[in-house]
Symmetry: C2
Subunit: 187 residues, 2 copies
DNA sequence: GTCATGGCCTTTACGCAGTAAGGTGCAATA
DNA sequence: TATTGCACCTTACTGCGTAAAGGCCATGAC
């Protein structure tokens, strides 16, 4: 007999497998049965690790993708630090663009808030007063999420033979980010 | 016998009824059977008017909510015109926040593009060169959609007893919009 | 050894979803 | 009156999430 053992099923492995399905086949094809197949387990086994079932699974996906705070204390110009962090955040959102719709739904209260708070703190330490920093953090997060949504949609559309393959998304992103940063610098 | 006639079912009435369900009970409770009930018709009757079924229904919802171009030729300062249009767009997005997740998914190719193009044209007539206007239009649309997502989420969260009921969303929105417009003015 | 315990997984079953296929009834036309 | 075609209904199928309960097996106590 060859080895019939398998990795033990854990919360982390479940969420990893789910993310893999979403990235490869889309959110609509993420079902408990398919997820069970990917883990070589019956669908109901998942409920042992995620008692709240699919709700908890989707919450986990959101947390995995959206939670990415930046350190408030590192050095350097705040604009440059935000640019670097934003580039990484955008990359993550696009890599897992299938979960973007879930960011919008009310799931997972704290997932975005921690990240937003870290941005706000960076802005606060840069000298903006509290209300301005809060607005700025929201503006930045809004731009990041909205742009990711537009970019994911645009890329999917032109892959499917839509009109414009002519958009340089990297340029669009950094250009828009610079607009927001420039606006922030003079507030 | 009382009148047993009913309004004839039309594409428009279907989409109106669907929007009503989504606004009142959430996207998750929009089903063909429930929609049929609302129209006093069996679910399968809907397929006569929307042959592609639920796909076509959701596309219709997106179009109804997201299509809102602004006229390129009206007079006034471009900043003020954008502010006025953006306020209306935000209101519409929030009124139908249940369909926001659908904006993100690839549905309905042209729904957002027409609106974006109209913003780009306004910016172009304001003196920005083409590439800058395109980036600016994208930045604005990204901010609008992202902010609507954050606001809808934040409002739902604090209604459900979450932490911050202390956010003045009107102020946040106009503040963020001013940041973007200020950034645009100097690009 | 033996036996109970408890963690991990499977089996079975239920209600609800979207929708394919084909049937029904009625108004307009010929 | 006979015909046609549109609007709607009936039936039935597959797949979904998950409640409930049962099986298996390593571990530790005696």
């Amino acid at each position: 007999m060859t080895s019939q053992h398998r990795e033990p099923v854990t919360r982390d492995r479940i969420i990893d497998a789910a993310l893999h399905i979403v990235d490869g086949q889309g959110l609509g094809r993420l079902t408990m049965r398919r997820l069970g197949d990917a883990l070589e387990v019956e669908a109901m086994a998942i409920y042992h690790h995620l008692p709240r079932g699919k709700e908890e699974l989707l919450d986990g996906l959101v947390a995995h993708v959206a939670v990415d705070p930046l350190s408030a204390t590192a050095g350097g110009e705040w604009q440059d630090r935000l640019r670097g962090w934003a580039a990484g955040y955008r990359e993550r959102l696009l890599e897992h663009s299938g979960v973007l719709p879930l960011l919008v739904t009310r799931r997972n209260p704290a997932a975005l808030d921690g990240t937003t708070a870290s941005v706000q703190e960076v802005l606060g330490r840069a000298g903006l007063r509290e209300e301005t920093a809060a607005t700025g953090a929201h503006t930045l997060m809004g731009y990041l999420i909205g742009h990711a949504a537009l970019e994911a949609r645009g890329r999917a559309l032109s892959e499917a033979g839509g009109p414009g393959g002519a958009i340089d998304w990297d340029l669009r992103f950094t250009g828009g980010l610079d607009v927001v940063l420039a606006g922030l610098a003079q507030s």
